[in-house]
Structures are given as structure tokens and as C-alpha cells.
Subunit: 628 residues, 2 copies
């Protein structure tokens, strides 16, 4: 189909202007005070009554005429006759005359005739208990210990202005002036339309063979919309029914102030969006010169604003934060949050030369001197784990070719309460470690294998490495354990695998781990032993293993391939075979060590991790083949 052409990518400022030109302002509404927390006041509120509504005693004591206490002191108290009492919440039934007083509680109405209150601590009752004579041991001025009607806020005075965010403090003032229905800015309604043919809502069942994946952007964007002060509305996923998708887009445009979709990988779905936007509204902009997020649409869909986000979750959320969230906040009247930034040094050199502004997701780690190191988190835009492995964004200008190691950069945190992890580790994927981390507050661990763990520790990026084998990297060993490794086979071991030799000698399909894995190294060492027994080189053996090069990344992955019948035998741990109810052929025991960078061994999280290794024997006992 013919599409409006946008030759050049818009620069980010143009995109912001385009979004600002859209109207997504909702109508104001009125909410009960009880539900007003976090809302933004739509108009000025003046008090329409006095607070307090009467002249109020500020202390427990006696209401009296100040003139009656003239010159009184400890030595020469004024003697007044107590004629009654006044309680809070009750209309006074007495009138105080000259030489008289009335007992009064804090908060009670000052009775007629009285013009001051003396604290009970500055009085005595005359010695006779039944006496009604009160001795006032201080001089008072009119108004002492009295809060006059309207002294807090008076009828007609300005209480709160439009734009005030309603916190408990504003709720207090509104309560005081009796306002229980609060005019607030509306929350823009943001419709979220999911457009990929391949997407399934979380909780639904997934056909991976058909390339289905869970829809990440819908719930993520909905939560981000709510963070920004909007009201998210999720529209049912139309799958590959393009008529239904068109109907959904039109319905969302009718019902919402803003419609968001996230880039479909399906060309037909994109065509539907283009067509509906051009038929009912206008496409203002297509493509922004930022990375990630080039494929971004801005326009109008019927009477509603429309933004098309990129499809990859990290890109979608980054673009949402940079361009869409400010527009939602503006429409909701929510003030821009105090930008939370930290400065840090690049943990390693990062090259870049695409000539577009780059919003680079980064993680933070505190080094041994308390400084902040910054490292890029880039697992490819398709990865959802980078969502939680990053702490913020570094904006890299289009003309920057690289960021050098040690270079100072400013990180815009995802939110003001983001803090670096207490401990940052990388290395072997190990089920005991995974459970130990539950006992550490805010850890971050990348299960990228022993080899990568060693490298990152050496490079000073991480606090700890988790590695297999006897040879440890430089640093402080926080703890160690051993785990049984071998071959995971279907329950009952139908191929009667007996050991590694069977991989070489029989016709079974094997699944290996990737070369970064410590377990893979352990396997290779064992194969070296077998090769020298047989007096061949290792290559001679591995070439004979069907699937030796079929390597998967995580510790359960080979076993799971075996379980679904994609292979006959997989490299793995006894603990894994046990957990998955599969058979296991023992090959050996390997050591797993947790090693900390010496300069960071006294970081709080590192110490916590060491304590967790020492203090959770039950974790090792619960895992088959583990021993500490």
C-alpha cells in the first residue's frame, strides 16, 4: 500500500514537540477525600468556614478573665471561684464573671465572659479538697492559651491552589475545612492495543513451535502508564484477525485520550495501523533518531492521540519513558519527578558509532572505595532480562564514538529509589547459589558461566565470581561447596548409559552446555582423561559424540531437552535430575567457589553473601549431590 513517506528520522526534540501538539487532556473529576491521595488538585480551594470554628482552649486548665490575674504569681496567687466545667465537644453552660473561672479541657469552647485560659500546672486547688477556690499562680494576658476562631484558617482564605499534589498533609488541611469531595485533574485514559500475531497474554498457553511468545509490552506499558499518572486500559489481543484489530483500534480511539500500540513484527499488522491512523486521523511522524527505538509513530487516531512504540520491550519502555511519560504526566497535572541522577565511571570501554542519540541502559556497582561504576547492559534489544539488570540510562550523544574506561558519565536512574545492588556477582549457573541469594538483600547475579565470571571479576566490574574448579581467580574465597555432575537421562535410563564412554561409543544424542560454563570445562577435563586412557586426542572423542557442539546455556536446559525427547542424554547435575524426576549417571564431583574482589570483600552485600553460605546448611542438604 502507499504510505506517507518520512525520509529522515526525526530528531528527538521534534518528536517531543509532535507529542506535545497532541491533546490528551482528560476532563477534571471529583473524588472522595478518602481516595484523593496522589491526585492533583484541579482548582483552588478556599476555606468556607473558620478553623477552629470557635475560640478554643489550647490546654487543660481554667477559663477566666485575664484582668482577674493581674499581678498574680507563685507567692501571691489570684483566687478565683470555679463555677463549672467545659468539655471538648460540648456547648458551655456557664458564663464566667469577674472573680470566677471554669475548668476547661483542651479543645473546648471558651465560655462566654472568659478571655484566657491558665494551664492546670500553674494553678492549685485551695487546701480543702471540696473547695471551689482555684489559686492562679501566674498573670495572664487576654488571648493566652486560646486559639481564636479562624486563627488556623478563616472562611474565605485560600487553602490550596490548583496543581497541588494531594499528600497526607493536604488531606489534613482539606479534612480540617470539611472538604470531602475533591476536584482533581482527570487521569488520561491510555488504551493499550497489542498487535503482534505471535503474542499471547501471560497466563495463556504458549505454542513455542509456532513461534508464540508472551506479550511483554502490554502489562509493562500499562504499569508504566500508571506510574506516570495515567489510567491504563488493556484491549483484548486480536491476534492475526486484522478486522478485529482495526475494530479494536477504533474502539480504543473512541474511549481513550491516548492510544499506544507497540511495534508489531508483522507487516500486515503494521499496515492495519497505518491505514486506520491515516483514515481516522493523521500520522505526524514516523521514526526518531534514537537508539533504541527508531521505529516510533506519532499521530492522531480519531479524536485520540496515538503513539506507536517499538516492539522490543527494552526499546518500548525506554521510548515510553523518554517521550510518552512526560506527556501523560503533563495531561494528568503530575509534576515531573525530581530527576534522579548519579555520576559514575565507566567500568569498561564502550564503542558506539551509529550517529543517533543513544539511550544506553546501564547497571551500577559500588566499587571498593564507595565510587559508582557504570557498565552497559546490552543483551540485544529482544532480551527482557535486561529490563531488570539495568538501573538507569546514560544518554550518549550522536557524535560520541566511544566511552572510555574510567570516563565520568551521568546516569539517569529509572526512579529516585533505585540503588546499586548490595552485591554484584557473575559466574556459574548453580541452584544452590540461586537459593543463597534469597538471603541477601537486593543482590544482582548474572549466570553467565564460570569463564565470564572470572573475566568480569578480573576486569573489576563485579564484586564476586562464582566459579567451578580448583584454580581460583585472585581474591578472597567467601565459601565453597561441591556438586555431583554427570549425565541426565530419562527416568529409568532406557539407553542404559553407564558413563562418558557411552557418549562416544553408542549412538545416543547428547546435549552439551556452552563453553562459558564451568561444568562444560569439567566435562572436557574428564574427556581429556578418557582420551589419554585410549591414547587418542580429545577431538577424536568429541567428534564421535552426536551433539557435542549442541550447547545450551543454562544448567537445566540439557535435562529439559532430554525430557521432551529432543535428545537422549544431557550434561547436568544430580540436583537437576532429581528436581526434574529424571535419571542420572554419576561422572564426578566438582567444586564451586564464591570468590570476592579483595577490595570489596567488606561491602555489606558481600559479607551478607558470605554469611548466607555459612548460615544456610539446609540449602545444601536439600539439593541432591550437594555438600558444603
Amino acid at each position: 500500500m502507499a504510505r506517507k513517506q518520512f525520509r529522515d528520522l526525526a530528531d528527538p526534540e521534534t518528536a517531543r514537540r509532535a507529542i506535545r501538539s497532541l491533546d490528551l487532556d482528560p476532563e477534571p473529576e471529583t473524588v472522595p477525600l478518602r481516595e484523593a491521595r496522589g491526585r492533583v488538585l484541579a482548582e483552588r480551594i478556599d476555606a468556607d468556614l473558620d478553623v477552629p470554628g470557635f475560640d478554643r482552649a489550647s490546654v487543660d486548665g481554667y477559663a477566666l478573665k485575664a484582668a482577674d490575674t493581674f499581678g498574680a504569681d507563685e507567692a501571691d496567687p489570684a483566687e478565683l471561684r470555679c463555677i463549672g466545667e467545659v468539655h471538648a465537644g460540648a456547648e458551655p453552660t456557664v458564663e464566667v464573671g469577674t472573680g470566677e473561672c471554669a475548668e476547661i479541657s483542651t479543645g473546648a469552647v471558651l465560655p462566654p465572659g472568659a478571655d484566657a485560659v491558665v494551664m492546670v500546672e500553674r494553678t492549685d486547688r485551695a487546701t480543702d479538697e471540696s473547695s471551689e477556690t482555684i489559686l492562679v499562680k501566674t498573670s495572664l494576658a487576654p488571648g493566652d492559651r486560646v486559639m481564636f476562631a479562624g486563627a488556623d484558617i478563616a472562611a474565605g482564605e485560600r487553602a490550596l491552589g490548583p496543581g497541588a499534589t494531594i499528600t497526607p498533609r493536604e488531606i489534613g488541611l482539606l479534612s480540617a475545612i470539611g472538604v470531602d469531595a475533591v476536584p482533581v485533574r482527570g487521569r488520561p485514559t491510555v488504551g493499550i492495543v497489542s498487535t503482534g500475531d505471535e503474542l499471547v497474554r501471560p497466563g495463556g498457553s504458549l505454542d513455542s513451535a509456532a513461534g508464540e511468545i508472551y506479550d511483554v509490552n502490554s502489562y509493562t506499558t500499562a504499569a508504566a502508564v500508571e506510574d506516570a499518572g495515567g489510567e491504563a486500559r488493556l484491549y483484548p489481543h486480536a491476534g492475526d484477525d486484522y478486522d478485529a484489530m482495526e475494530a479494536t483500534l477504533r474502539e480504543a480511539a473512541d474511549e481513550c485520550d491516548l492510544v499506544l500500540s507497540s511495534g508489531s513484527t508483522s507487516a500486515s499488522a503494521v499496515d492495519v495501523i497505518y491505514r486506520v491512523v491515516e483514515e481516522t486521523g493523521e500520522l505526524l511522524l514516523h521514526g526518531v533518531a534514537v537508539k533504541p527505538g527508531k521505529p516510533m509513530l506519532i499521530g492522531r487516531l480519531g479524536g485520540s492521540a496515538y503513539v506507536g512504540l517499538p516492539g522490543y520491550p527494552v526499546s518500548a519502555l525506554t521510548i515510553f519513558r523518554a517521550f510518552v511519560a512526560p506527556a501523560i504526566r503533563r495531561a494528568a497535572g503530575v509534576p515531573e519527578p525530581e530527576t534522579a541522577t548519579v555520576e559514575g565511571r565507566m567500568a569498561h570501554r564502550e564503542r558506539y558509532s551509529e550517529g543517533r542519540l543513544r539511550y544506553m541502559p546501564v547497571g551500577l556497582v559500588t566499587d571498593g572505595d564507595g565510587g559508582t561504576l557504570v557498565y552497559p547492559v546490552d543483551k540485544g534489544s529482544g532480551a527482557t532480562t535486561s529490563l531488570v539488570e539495568a538501573d538507569g540510562i546514560v544518554s550518549v550523544a550522536p557524535d560520541v564514538e566511544y566511552l572510555d574506561v574510567g570516563e565520568r558519565v551521568e546516569v539517569q536512574l529509572f526512579s529516585p529509589d533505585v540503588r546499586p545492588p548490595t552485591v554484584f556477582g557473575a559466574g556459574e549457573d548453580d541452584p544452590a547459589l540461586s537459593r543463597l541469594l534469597d538471603h541477601v538483600d537486593r543482590p544482582r547475579y548474572l549466570a553467565i558461566g564460570s569463564r565470564q565470571g572470572r573475566r568480569r571479576l578480573r576486569d573489576g566490574v563485579t564484586d564476586v565470581a562464582v566459579v567451578t574448579g580448583e584454580s581460583l581467580p585472585d581474591g578472597t574465597e567467601l565459601g565453597r561447596w561441591s556438586r555431583e555432575w554427570g549425565l541426565v537421562v530419562p527416568s529409568g535410563n532406557p539407553d542404559e548409559i553407564d558413563g562418558l564412554a557411552d557418549l562416544v561409543d553408542t549412538d545416543v544424542r547428547f546435549v552439551n552446555r556452552t563453553t562459558d560454563s564451568g561444568l562444560r570445562s569439567t566435562l572436557e577435563a574428564a574427556l581429556d582423561d578418557l582420551a589419554s586412557e585410549r591414547d587418542v586426542d580429545r577431538r577424536g572423542l568429541t567428534d564421535a559424540i552426536d551433539g557435542f557442539d549442541l550447547a545450551v546455556r543454562a544448567h537445566e536446559s540439557p535435562a529439559r531437552k532430554v525430557r521432551v525427547g529432543d535428545a537422549d542424554v544431557g550434561l547436568g547435575l544430580r540436583a537437576t535430575a532429581d528436581a526434574l524426576g529424571m535419571g542420572f549417571v554419576h561422572c564426578g564431583t566438582e567444586r564451586v567457589s564464591v570468590v570476592a574482589d579483595e577490595t570489596r570483600a567488606d561491602k555489606d552485600g558481600v559479607e551478607r553473601l558470605a554469611a548466607a553460605i555459612d548460615g544456610n546448611e539446609s540449602i545444601f542438604e536439600s539439593l541432591a549431590g550437594y555438600r558444603r
Copy 2:
């Protein structure tokens, strides 16, 4: 009744320990992913599927065997036969053989036989449009542009740990692994019991003559509980029915993890609380050595934790923040917020010598150099307006006798997004000004009269003063207007008041404004004129005015007293008489000027205020007797 005796006030740390000793932990619960934003994960979540669940094409292009492209480049492309296509969300129907390729979309399943994908940009179709021959102009390695199954996160890997706060990013990862029911920490249920006889819920009707006031603490505390991650439950107000109050306390103890009440001024109500706590639980502590907030109870009420907060709203909220909120956050698993503090200099000397830790509420103002000035906000603990006039708390140690002007202090902000007002003014209470402030973002204005406005401007505390009269304080006049003043009388002017002379000469009851008011000064100047006409001194006239010393603070207050029949004539503005539908006797016109501190005239908010005066003619037109 006999009460457990607590001779000394507990120190704050003892009070914190007492609260920590109480159990207010709720049960964990499971919530839908869509509602999990802001909750805290109760347990570790491991992936139980691979993400992606299949080997996935990362780009639009052609799936092929990498070996077929060996040595290919622009000059010498590899020629492959395209045998079909694979779309995202569809199971491949082709198998790629040697010398073949298949068109593939981003996100689609890599078809059997293929081990890499070439981007469409690095290919050409052979010149003949209908040809199925694809020219691949680059060499590929196996795995290029493919995201392998489980590469993002694999089945069995740790996804998130217990204690993680669920933000849009965690929602993204949980979506990706298909988790739609999330185990989260429960929110502690906090029952709020309102105990004062004199309290009326906002929205209810108030009998001020009987000393009733609106219940400020219930809604305020409820909102603060929710800010801290608890679930607030408001119990019906029992008024002065002590049996009902006891029943409510017992019910709340049954239903909630924590029960809060706020100090009643009614001794009988306090007795009921003491008795129920001692009968069903235990009182651990009574009274903490802090100001404000000495009267604080900590104990157990049945199986529930119990804290009695002070009665005054500022005290109650301060004590809640300092002692109760951390306990609720701990029970909810919510991390302590990053403490938001700013450093500033004291704007004036503040004396203090009560020997207790003082949580001093303070306001902030930015001075001309961008520095932060700090001034105490202390209108008496009974004032609710101080809730919104303060920005944070300065902790003053018990042994501090005074804070000197210019002394550096650290302010703990009420929340991290608190910022100083853009403009801080004080002075005349004026309805035009009140409306002009609606056009300024985050202003703060204290309507404390021209005299106090002049003083604060001179002391360098405020940015602007709003004053009446021709004589201006030093500074830059941002704008001015005039307003008609005179005598507000009942509609129809039943006493046939004609001017100021009638106040002196006839038997009417007058209501004045307080001496800080600029309008009062204007009245006094006019009375001076009348006195010289009559050749008497002013005192001779004012003594003859019934009610000259009956002075109220706010601009509408005299008129409102007249309206309810408490007086016959009040000092006021034509605009006020007009707004309240009352009669008005013109006495004169006075000038109102807005004057800025010279060093702060270019502060953003000050400029905005000047622009608001210039740009809102309609405000002056809408107010009777106003002219700019």
C-alpha cells in the same frame, strides 16, 4: 482508675524498639500480574520456560545455512534459492537445505536446517523480479542474527528474588516468563479508630457552638498508612458513646495487624483506651521524649499491635512518620525510601530549650544565590495549615539551646519530590492575589497582613511582600492594583450606616481587622482624618466605637460575623460584600503593591507572579471595586 505508671518519658530509641517488638506482619498473598505494580515479591521466582521458547530471528531477512555464505561479499555474493517464507507467530513449513534460504520476519521461528539469518539490507534479489534467487552479500557465522531458545532466560534460572519491588521492569520480566499470578508480601491492615467526642468526619455537619471540629487525623493517617504500604481501614466514629468505642477497639484489634488511635482530648475516651489495652493486651510504653508528640502509647490490643498517636494533627503525622511508618514498611517488605535531605541555612535565630528531641517542621525558600534558607513553621500544634506550609523536619537534639541565624541545618524532606516553592510571599490577605497565585506553579503565600509581610521581606525570609499603602518596602515593585474598602453591612443596610462617623456616633456593633492588616492601618488613617476634623484625638473616636478592639484576622471574617448577626457592621472590601451578597458603604480606595526582594526578582516564580499580575486583567475585572 488505677493506671500503669510510666514515670519517665521513653527516649525515642526505646520507643522504636517497643514498636519493633510488636508483630504486625501480614500473610503473603497472590495477586494478578496486572495489579502487582508497587507490591513486593514474597518469594523467588524461577523461570519455568525458556525465553524465547525457540530459536528466533532477530531481524527481517533470510534464514540460511551459514556455511553457504563462506567468503561472500559485495563483489561476490552467495546465490541462494528462496524456498518460502516464515512469519512471526507461525510454525515454519519449510526446511532449509544446502544452497537454499527462506524469507523470515523478525521474531519468527528459525526453520529447520537453517543456522543463521542475514539482514534483508545485506541481500539483493536477482534482477528478475520474479526470480527466487537471493544474493547474500556478506559472510555469516552460525548463530548470526539468531536469538537461541533460552538465551534471554532459561527454564530453571532465577528470575527475581524475594523482596524485589515490582516496577514496570519486573512486570516485563514476569510477563516474558508467563507469570500472571504473583506471590507478594501482604499489606498490613491498619485500623484507624477515631476517639474524640468533638470530632465530626469531613462532609458531616458541624456544630461549632458545641465545640465540634472536623476529624483531621483519620483521613490524614489513612493516607500516610497507604503511603507506607499498609492498607488503612477507617472505623466508624463512636462519638461519646464509650461502649461503642470499646466495641470498635475490640473489633479493630480482631481485624487488623495494627490499630492506631489519635489522642483524644477527652479524659473518658482515654480511659476507655487504657482499659481495653490493659484488659486485652499490654501497654508497653507511654510517652516519648520528643516534641511534638509526647503523648504516645505503644502496646498490644488483643492479638494486634497498638499505637496511640498524639491528638494534634502535626504531632500525629510527625510521630507517625518517625515511629509507625518504618514499622509498616518493614511489615509490608517495602524498602525504606532513600532519605531525601537538603542542607540549608537558618533564615532566623530559633530558640529552644525543652530538653527533648525536637522534630521541628520547617519551610524552605531559595535565596537569590540559589541557596536554601530554612525557617521554622510553628503556628502551634493545633494548626492544620502548618501541615502544608512545612516542607520537612529538622531534628534538634535535646541539648541544643538555639539555632543561630545562618547556621547550617539538615532538613529531612517529607518526600523526595518536595521542592521549595517557586515563590514565597507573605503579606496582605487579598482576594485578587489569591486568584493570581492560581497562575503560578507551586507558590507559597502566608496571608499574615501587610505589617508582617514587610517584616519578613526585610528579614530576607520571603521573596515578595504584598502590602497596602503608598509607602513601599525596599525592593522591586512587581505590580499593583487598587481596591475599594469600607463598611460591610447586612443587605439593605438596615442601620442606615453612611460612613465612618456612624461607627462613632451611633449605637452599632463593629468588627475590626487585626492590627497586622493593611486594611486596619487604612481605617486608622481615615479615623485620624476624622479626628482632626473634629479636633479630637483618634483614641477619643475609637473608644466610642463599640467593637473597635474586636479584631479578626482574615479579610472576609468581619463580613461573615455581620452576616450571622454577631455584629452590625464590619471592616471590609467591596469585593467581599459583593461576593457574600451583603451591603457596602464606601470609605475609600487603597493601593495594594506586590514588592519583590531585589536579589530575588529574577527567580522563576517571582517572574511568573509578575507575569500573572500583568496577564490576568479578567481577575481584576471580576472583583467589585478592583482596578489595576
